[in-house]
Structures are given as structure tokens and as C-alpha cells.
């Protein structure tokens, strides 16, 4: 397995190592007194964690469950008896008996002062802000009953808004310098676009030389947006243009919806994480005025057919024909953040990527060709919108090569958050709606396409199909649930033995099909480094998703995010799959139909190559 590289996290932000000699070491219990209550906690627990476990609320701002500790906003300070200064509870590990006060006079005053300071520097007004109602700074102001600007209020912009990127917009005048985005970009994703620059009062989060985001090596994953407590980062929202298209009677506006937004959009309407809203969402979209509502899972199924076939072709060429120019392992290519990552960081390894487009782009190409023909609609009158959990999809649909239909295949990528906003704007409360299905000719798709949303899902879906193509039998897992593919371990590896192969696939008899799954580009980097070192010779297929947790944790998903929330969303998807009759891509009747009617030379054939496959750009790391 892949060795973990030494973490880049500064030593001070790594979990405290308690040496054995120190009072019993890790695992033993310590008694502390919080607000005069005696509490037992594990040695090394931070004060904040201890308080959480005991339902004592402490406000936080720079703290985020997914990220290393920073301890720099200071809003979480507490008073410890015998100490001259207040201590940040998020970073203070309990290793001995402490007497802690979480809301003494000093603490309350200090917090209030910090809050007043942050507000004085926070440009703009809450009611003209897209994070109104979901802003951590705003909630703090409410919590502390702030009713005025004690230290004045900044009235002029200090920075200009960076709107260069298709995916992420940065407004540094809303920034509170919590560095969550920095820790996301450098530590969690290892992309390294954002960092604190300058010092003192001039400290700003910025890109290299403060260049526009579009010009640096941002992969558009939007993970920074998900972790920004305020409105400093947001996705590039096309909903105004979509409204215009909807209101234009000449336009035929169709929308495809990916699996992950359905599993999370309820959160935007106040429901707890883990409620699937597929059917209600369809109704809402029709009410809003979309002419057709399609299921991206259909092209997810198609991706499996194409990508699975591509894999088998590669195996055949390599093993039977001995063609050494064929690259294995084959990497999935449906995550546009990952695609841009490899284009930047490993441009010499693009041949390992599957040439398949992502489901979003396959769909776009089909809508403006196949669908347009079948329904006699001029492709130029069709506007295709893609509802995605993802901010990188906005960049993807704007890639110049994504014009296989002769038009821009997908016109707009819309995130879950923006969709929820449109639904609210239309006066709809989503949970109240009755459900409805998807439109033909693509219809309802298989559960295999559905589970694309969670990390490991593409692999699981592909195995369900590949195994059956090769052996003629179903994958030997109970209820088709390929458990090694599931879970949230950063890098997973497993194998399935191919036995009893059909004659055509005899060369695979007895072969262990080895696969790997990684999510989050920091983990992708580990895999790529292993590949560069030549350690992945016997791996055949690797699924990589740019976002931690896969698409359910995508950069367009509802805020906040946490491991717990992502787990719930994944469960929602797996539950929905379990309940479906159709759970294998190759059994999807609509897929069969399209191969009979339109993609007549089959998976990876000539037509599909023109419409469903793509090529990549060697971008490299140099910032011009």
C-alpha cells in the first residue's frame, strides 16, 4: 500500500503527542472542572472537544472539523485558572487537571471585542449578501446581540472582486482571515493556490502575485467555498441567465440532475442531512419552468459502458496483443477537478486517464444531437443546464473542446446551492411537493449510475458491469454491494478475482482485477506519486474524485460540510440504490435503446468517440 507522505501540516497544528511518561499517557482519563462541573475526559482532548461532549457551547470561527487546527480567530478563548492570558479552546489539549471557565466576564468581553473588530473590517451589508442567513460571522453577531459598530465600519473596498474564474469568485473584503480556505487548499487538497500573504494589518489571503484565479493552478474544486464561514468565496452563479432562458418562449430549456444534489438539497430547506429528494426535485424543476428534466445517471450508466469497455480494450491490447504503449492503470475521468489537477501536476500522465467525458458532458452532447433529432428541435434553440454538486463542472462545460454537438454541449453548470435559491425564489418549499419521475427518452436510470455520487461509487458501478461482461455472472457480492468500494478511507485498494470467464475473455481467467479508490486531491497525489515511483504496475483501474467524500462532498453542495454530514448524504444514496430494481448499468433499457438507435457502432465505437470521448490538455504548473 501507499506510504503516507509526511504531513505538510505545521507541527504546531498536528495533534498533540502525549508521551507515555506524562501522567499515564494517551488513553488515560483526566478530570477537569468546566464551569464548576467536574468532567472526565480522555488525555489530549482539546477543551473545545471536551465542551462539545458535555453540551457546553463555545463559539468558533477558524475551527473546522475537516481541517488542521489554527487557533487564530481567538473567538473561542476560555479562562483557565492560574493562567495570565485566555487560551484558545480549539487548540488547548487537556493533559492535567484544569479549572476552566467558558463564559467569565473576561471571556465574554474578549469575545465581544474580537467580534466587534471583525465586524468593523467586514465590508458590506448583510441583506445584500448571498450568505445572508448562513453566515458564521452573522450568527456570531446575533448570538452576542451586536446592535452597532463599536469600532466603526469600513465603507470602502480594500480589494476588488475576482470574477475571473468560471467556478469560484473571491471577494476578499468579506474575508475574516480564518485561513480555512488556505488550510483547505494547501493541506486538505494539496493544490496550493491560496495562502496568507503580506503581514500585519495588510495580511490578505491571495493567490500567487494576487493573480486572477483563472490564471493560477486552481482546480475549481470549490472545497474552499464549502469551508468559508462568510461570503468571501462563492461559486460563479449563472442563475440569472438561466431565468432569462426559461422566460424566453423560443428556448427549449432542459435540465439534467446529478445524484448528489438530490441527496443534499433538503439541507437547504432546513432538513437534516441524509434526505433524498429526487422525486420532489423533479416536480420543482418542472414548476420552475424547465421543459424537460433528465437524469444524469443515464449518462453515468453510459459512462460505465464506455469506460468499462475502454478498460477491457486496454487490458486486451496489453495482455493479448502485447502492446506496451497502452497505459494501465486506467484512471476515471468524471471528476473535472481531478482532471484539471492531473493536467497541471502530472501532465505527462494524461494517457492514463480514461478518454471518457464526464456524465455531464456526455449528456450535453446527446441532448443537442440525439434528443434534438428525435424530437425535431433545432439544437441552437436548446439550452442545457446541469444541476451538479460541483463548482468544477462550471469550468468543465466551458472548456473549448466541449462542443462535440457543434454547439456548447452544456450551457450552464448549476450548483445545489444555486438551485435551492432558484426554487426558493419561485416560491416553492421543496419538502411539500409531490414527487414525479424523469422524462424520456432517457428515463429513470440504474442504481449504478446513482452511486457515482459517493467515493467508490464509480468503481462499484463499473465492477458490476465489467464482471458480468467478462464472466456472464453477477459480481459475487451480497446484494451487489461491493463493500471494499465503500467507506471514507482516503486511499482504498482491493481486488476481485475473475473466474469462469466467457470464451472471448479467456485471457482474463484467474486474473485479480486490482483497483484503487482515492478521494480528495491530497490522496490523489499519494496515488500519483506511487504511480511515478512505478509502484502501481499491477493495478488495473483507479477511481479518483477531487472532493473529499466524492461528489456528495462537492464544492457546490450545501454549506456547512463535515465528515458526519457527508456520511449521511452517502447513506442516502446507497439506500436509494438498494431500493431500486435496476442496479446495473448494462441492464438499463434506455442504454440498450441508445446503442441500438444512435450509437450504433457500440461502446467506444466511432460515433461514441466523437460525442462521448475527449482529450486533455498538458497544462503544467507554470503560472504565466
Amino acid at each position: 500500500m501507499i506510504k503516507d507522505k509526511l504531513s505538510r501540516t505545521p507541527v504546531s497544528q498536528q495533534p498533540l503527542v502525549v508521551h507515555k511518561e506524562e501522567q499515564g499517557g494517551i488513553g488515560s482519563l483526566v478530570e477537569v472542572e468546566i464551569n464548576n462541573r467536574k468532567i472526565q475526559v480522555q488525555m489530549g482532548t482539546t477543551i473545545l472537544e471536551a465542551c462539545k461532549e458535555n453540551n457546553i457551547h463555545i463559539p468558533t470561527l477558524c475551527y473546522h472539523e475537516d481541517l488542521c487546527l489554527a487557533g487564530l480567530c481567538r473567538i473561542c478563548v476560555v479562562e483557565i485558572e492560574g493562567m495570565r492570558t485566555l487560551q484558545a479552546s480549539c487548540t488547548y489539549p487537556i493533559t492535567n487537571k484544569l479549572k476552566i471557565q467558558t463564559s467569565s466576564e473576561k471571556v465574554r468581553k474578549a469575545r465581544r471585542h474580537i467580534l466587534d473588530l471583525l465586524l468593523s473590517e467586514h465590508y458590506g451589508e448583510c441583506y445584500v449578501c448571498h450568505r445572508n442567513g448562513n453566515c458564521e460571522l452573522q450568527s456570531l453577531a446575533k448570538e452576542y446581540g451586536v446592535d452597532g459598530f463599536k469600532f466603526g465600519h469600513i465603507t470602502e473596498r480594500r480589494h476588488s472582486v475576482d470574477r475571473s474564474s468560471y467556478s469560484v469568485i473571491r471577494d476578499m473584503d468579506k474575508c475574516v482571515l480564518c485561513k480555512r480556505c488556505v488550510r483547505t487548499c494547501i493541506d486538505l487538497q494539496e493544490v496550493g493556490v491560496l495562502e496568507a500573504t503580506h503581514r500585519g494589518y495588510d495580511t490578505t489571503i491571495s493567490t500567487f502575485y494576487d493573480k486572477p484565479l483563472a490564471d493560477v493552478i486552481c482546480i475549481n474544486c470549490g472545497q474552499c467555498i464549502n469551508r468559508c464561514p462568510t461570503a468571501a468565496l462563492k461559486a460563479n452563479d449563472p442563475s440569472d441567465e438561466i431565468w432569462v432562458a426559461i422566460d424566453d418562449p423560443k428556448k427549449h430549456v432542459v435540465i439534467q440532475t446529478a445524484p448528489s444534489p438530490r441527496a443534499s438539497i433538503g439541507e437547504e430547506f432546513g432538513l437534516p442531512a441524509g434526505h433524498s429528494m429526487t422525486k420532489q426535485l423533479n416536480t420543482a424543476l418542472r414548476w420552475i419552468g424547465f421543459d424537460k428534466v433528465f437524469d444524469t445517471n443515464f449518462t453515468a450508466d453510459l459512462t460505465i459502458m464506455e469506460e468499462g469497455t475502454e478498460l477491457l480494450n486496454r487490458l486486451k491490447k496489453k495482455i493479448v496483443e502485447g502492446d506496451n504503449s497502452i497505459k494501465l492503470p486506467q484512471f476515471t475521468s468524471c471528476s473535472p477537478g481531478w482532471v484539471k489537477y492531473i493536467e497541471h501536476f502530472y501532465p505527462d500522465y494524461l494517457d492514463y486517464l480514461s478518454s471518457c467525458k464526464s456524465p455531464q458532458q456526455m449528456f450535453g452532447a446527446l441532448i443537442k444531437t440525439f434528443y434534438a433529432q428525435e424530437n425535431n428541435i433545432a439544437p441552437e434553440d436548446i439550452v442545457t443546464v446541469a444541476l451538479m454538486p460541483c463548482s468544477a463542472k462550471k469550468f468543465e462545460c466551458n472548456r473549448p473542446e466541449m462542443h462535440s454537438s457543434g454547439f456548447k454541449d452544456v450551457d450552464y453548470g448549476l450548483t445545489t446551492r444555486e438551485m435551492a435559491q432558484m426554487i426558493k425564489e419561485a416560491g416553492i418549499y421543496l419538502p411539500d411537493l409531490d414527487g414525479s419521475g424523469f422524462d424520456d427518452p432517457f428515463g429513470d436510470a440504474s442504481g449504478a449510475g446513482l452511486i457515482f455520487g459517493a467515493t467508490g461509487g464509480v468503481m462499484e458501478a463499473a465492477l458490476r458491469t465489467v464482471y458480468e461482461i467478462v464472466t456472464g455472472r453477477e459480481v459475487p457480492f451480497e446484494n451487489l454491494e461491493i463493500t471494499p468500494c465503500r467507506g471514507f478511507e482516503g486511499v482504498r485498494q482491493a481486488s476481485v478475482k475473475l473466474e469462469g470467464t466467457l470464451p472471448e475473455w479467456n485471457f482474463l481467467e484467474g486474473v485479480d482485477l486490482n483497483f484503487m479508490i482515492a478521494h480528495g486531491t491530497a490522496n490523489a497525489k499519494k496515488v500519483m506519486e506511487a504511480l511515478v515511483r512505478g509502484e502501481l504496475e499491477n493495478i488495473h483501474f483507479i477511481e479518483i474524485m477531487a472532493c473529499p467524500g466524492g461528489c456528495i462532498g462537492g464544492g457546490g453542495q450545501p454549506i456547512p460540510t463535515s465528515p458526519e454530514i457527508r456520511k449521511k448524504r452517502a447513506e442516502a444514496i446507497y439506500n436509494e440504490d438498494r431500493g431500486l430494481e435496476l442496479r446495473k448499468s448494462h441492464n438499463n433499457p434506455h442504454i440498450k435503446y441508445i446503442y441500438e438507435k444512435f450509437l450504433i457502432d457500440g461502446p467506444c465505437g466511432h460515433i461514441s468517440h466523437k460525442l462521448l470521448h475527449t482529450h486533455y490538455v498538458k497544462r503544467g504548473k507554470f503560472i504565466a
Binding site: 493556490v193 500567487f208 493560477v216 504548473k621
Partner: protein
């Protein structure tokens, strides 16, 4: 920037990376040497350094912008740094500042067109008992008077 110059810089940075090690701890010494030799650390140099140390360019940029003695713009051959902290201030820094500005015909933060002098303020340089004081590159001058200062500047011209 010329291609050949770029390449020379790359080689230079590679040598420095060999000298100080290709780890993050080597960052400041490398930056300091580049700063000393070229008077500034160019955008290209920052990216190359990032490459050799396997860190991100923006991290190098973050460090360069943090430290007062590292600059991103070409500096004059002689960097005149006048101490602006209280002891020197009370000892008459203001008069010295005006005198230099007039003599070089530039303001603080600027460089003479012939790229000879850059004029900057710095914070306390530890010559409080002998103020006003200034640094020209690494050399220290103390007990300044406007006259004396002009003589010193002239000796560099």
C-alpha cells in the same frame, strides 16, 4: 526577461537547493541569497524555488511578502534603509529623511531611475543609542546629521 537569463536563474537556484537541501527549511536561506545577488526575487525565481523545494509558488510568495528584507521589485544597487522607530525619530530622523529625499530626488519606497539607490524605512535596527541611524546594504551609519548623511550618500554615487 530573456530566456537565457531565466535559464541562468534556474541553474543558480538549483545550485542553492543543492547547497541548502531541497526541503522547506532551505527556503529562507535561498531567498536571502537570491535577494543579495539580484536585489530582488522575481516571479520566475519564486516559481523555480517552489519547484525545487516541492512547495507551492504561493507559499513562497507568502513568505516573500512577509519579510521586510525580501523584495519583489528590482531594487537599486544600494538600498538605503533609514530607521523610523522612536529613538531615531526623536533624534531627528525627519530631517535626515528630507535631506536624502532631496539629494536623491526620490521619495521613500522609490528607486532612482539609474537603479542605483532605493530608499526605504525600517523599524528599529538596534542603534538607538547612536541615532539617527541608517543601513546602506549591510553597512551601518550612525549619529547622522543631514550634512553627514549627504556625504555618505555621495560616497556611494
Amino acid at each position: 526577461m530573456l530566456v537565457s537569463e531565466k535559464h541562468g536563474l534556474t541553474l543558480e537556484i538549483e545550485k542553492l537547493a543543492e547547497k541548502y537541501g531541497r526541503t522547506r527549511e532551505a527556503l529562507l536561506p535561498i531567498l536571502q541569497e537570491i535577494q543579495m545577488k539580484h536585489g530582488y526575487i522575481s516571479e520566475f525565481a519564486q516559481q523555480e524555488i517552489a519547484n525545487f523545494l516541492d512547495i507551492h509558488p504561493v507559499e513562497v510568495y507568502g513568505v516573500v511578502t512577509f519579510y521586510a528584507f525580501l523584495s519583489r521589485k528590482p531594487q537599486g544597487r544600494y538600498i538605503v534603509k533609514l530607521c523610523q522607530t522612536i529613538a531615531c525619530d526623536l533624534a531627528g530622523k525627519e530631517a535626515i529623511a528630507r535631506a536624502i529625499e532631496r539629494e536623491l530626488n526620490i521619495k521613500f519606497g522609490e528607486t532612482t531611475p539609474d537603479m542605483k539607490f532605493t530608499l526605504e524605512y525600517i523599524n528599529c535596527m538596534g542603534m538607538c543609542d547612536q541615532g539617527p541611524a541608517l543601513l546602506i546594504n549591510d553597512d551601518v551609519y550612525t549619529h547622522l546629521t543631514p550634512h553627514k548623511t549627504i556625504e555618505i550618500i555621495k560616497s556611494y554615487k
